[in-house]
């Protein structure tokens, strides 16, 4: 085991948002993270802090996580004012402690939005995203025999763009980073991944209106094209998808 003072080990001061439950007032508490290996991920660092807290009989910090390999979208907090921390195109679970220096103070806060409720500490209820998907983020297909692979031709460019949009893992960093707490990058990506493909076209109009309507109803803010979402998105989803969603809205209204 390497110890602090050694280059690959650091000590940090953490300022973490603690909140016992959804309707309880929360506050920041300060902890020490000792002997953190710089090879650890941010979540592993929290694990170490939690282990120590459990051993001394304290309530560990609750945080969301699942895959820990940047594909599920469960993790995510603000780290020193940046969603998923300061690295580009990275989820919190993929953020490594080598990006921090010995003695740093790290402020850890949950995503803040009227639509996301704190369940406990850093754990959020993001079921509003599921509600938006339920409103229209699907295609209706008749089940039956598997269709022939090349029966529906898809241009390469559309396939690429649809795949880029479908890379969204629904983490909510776009909402967290947006000065207006708007969900338009998420919804734009989800509208785009279908509307770019022939399978998604028949329901395009209904889908765009239903998903946008649901998004508005849930209390997200309105996009003012600040482009903070695109900069913070761990999957680097482009705001081109917001423009496409706006286009789909116009098309649906005018046709």
């Amino acid at each position: 085991m390497t110890k602090a003072g050694n280059k690959s080990c650091i000590n940090l001061k953490l300022k973490v948002w603690r909140q016992k439950g959804p309707d309880v007032k929360g506050r920041f508490e300060t902890y020490k993270a000792r002997d953190v290996s710089t090879n650890m991920s941010f979540l592993e660092m929290l694990d170490v802090v939690n282990e120590e807290m459990i051993l001394s009989g304290k309530d560990p910090i609750a945080f969301d996580h699942d895959c820990r390999e940047g594909i599920c979208g469960a993790c995510g907090t603000m780290v020193n004012g940046r969603a998923h921390g300061p690295e580009k195109g990275t989820t919190l679970c993929q953020l490594h402690m080598r990006h921090f220096s010995n003695g740093d103070t790290v402020i850890i806060e949950p995503w803040r939005s009227r639509a996301f409720k704190v369940v406990k500490d850093l754990v959020l209820d993001r079921s509003v995203f599921d509600k938006i998907i339920q409103a229209g983020g699907y295609i209706s297909v008749n089940t039956g025999g598997a269709p022939d692979g090349n029966a529906i031709p898809v241009p390469q460019e559309s396939a690429e763009k649809a795949m880029d949009a479908a890379a969204c893992i629904g983490c909510g960093a776009c909402v967290a980073a947006c000065p207006n707490a708007s969900a338009m990058l998420f919804v734009g990506a989800k509208v785009s991944q279908f509307t770019l493909l022939p399978q998604g076209l028949p329901e395009a109009k209904k889908r765009a209106l239903a998903m946008i309507g649901k998004m508005d109803e849930l209390g997200f803010g309105n996009c003012t094209n600040e482009t903070e979402c695109e900069k913070e998105c761990p999957k680097e989803i482009s705001i081109e998808n917001i423009a496409r969603m706006n286009r789909e809205f116009l098309k649906a209204g005018l046709s």
């Binding site: 000065p179 309507g213 508005d216 209390g219 309105n222 809205f249 116009l250």
Partner: protein
């Protein structure tokens, strides 16, 4: 929500619908600004050119009045929907962050939109009082402009206002195209550059007029 049945009401109610109205009215103002600047620049061709431009413009009669009513309607819409969006956005994050850093997307223009907007509203009211509703029977418009700008305090206020308009347009112009959905990856940088060019033209074009009038002509 009932979509389709009452398209207009639904558009007004929805977030993107309100944004579309901001974009269309905002672009309307951009066109107006360019036309207004072109007209004002006739002052560089001398007193007579400017006075005759003003006379010929007002000789258009009903067309001018129609444009004025249109602009007033646009202004009221832009201001009220802008204010409502600002309120909704404020409400969307009841608990603020202890610290929040920009990730590199925001610009001076985008951060200050509501505030530059409010300032422009104030400017427009004063501007109309000074040059539109002013008594013009025994003074030409050129004389009025000359006299107003001879007050250094007013000239300063005017120049600052034009810089603020330029800042509003520096974000507003490209933002409107993004809102309208025209800006896909191929065109986005083009609209961004155009926005900067137009805001520089507006800032320098209008902003240098008082200096030109007071010191050069």
């Amino acid at each position: 929500m009932q979509w389709g049945l009452n398209w207009f009401i639904c558009t007004l109610r929805s977030s993107i619908g309100k944004k579309l109205i901001m974009a269309l009215t905002g672009l309307g103002f951009c066109i107006f600004l360019i036309a207004h600047l072109a007209g004002n620049l006739t002052i560089c061709a001398g007193e007579d050119a400017f006075n005759s431009y003003s006379e010929r413009l007002h000789a258009l009669g009903p067309l001018v009045i129609l444009t004025e009513i249109g602009l007033l309607f646009f202004a009221v819409t832009h201001v009220f929907i802008g204010a409502y969006l600002f309120y909704e956005n404020f409400r969307a994050r009841p608990e603020k962050y202890l610290i929040k850093k920009n990730a590199g997307g925001r610009t001076i223009g985008s951060v200050t939109m509501p505030y530059t907007g409010l300032f422009i509203l104030l400017f427009i009211v004063l501007h109309l009082v000074d040059f539109h509703f002013v008594e013009k029977t025994d003074q030409t418009i050129y004389q009025i402009v000359l006299e107003t700008f001879s007050n250094p305090g007013y000239a300063f206020f005017y120049i600052v206002s034009m810089i603020i308009v330029a800042i509003h347009v520096s974000h507003g112009f490209w933002s409107a195209f993004q809102t309208l959905g025209v800006s896909n990856s191929g065109y986005m940088s083009l609209f961004r550059v155009m926005g900067i060019v137009i805001s520089l033209a507006v800032g320098f074009g209008f902003g240098l007029l008082p200096i030109y009038i007071s010191f050069i002509s």
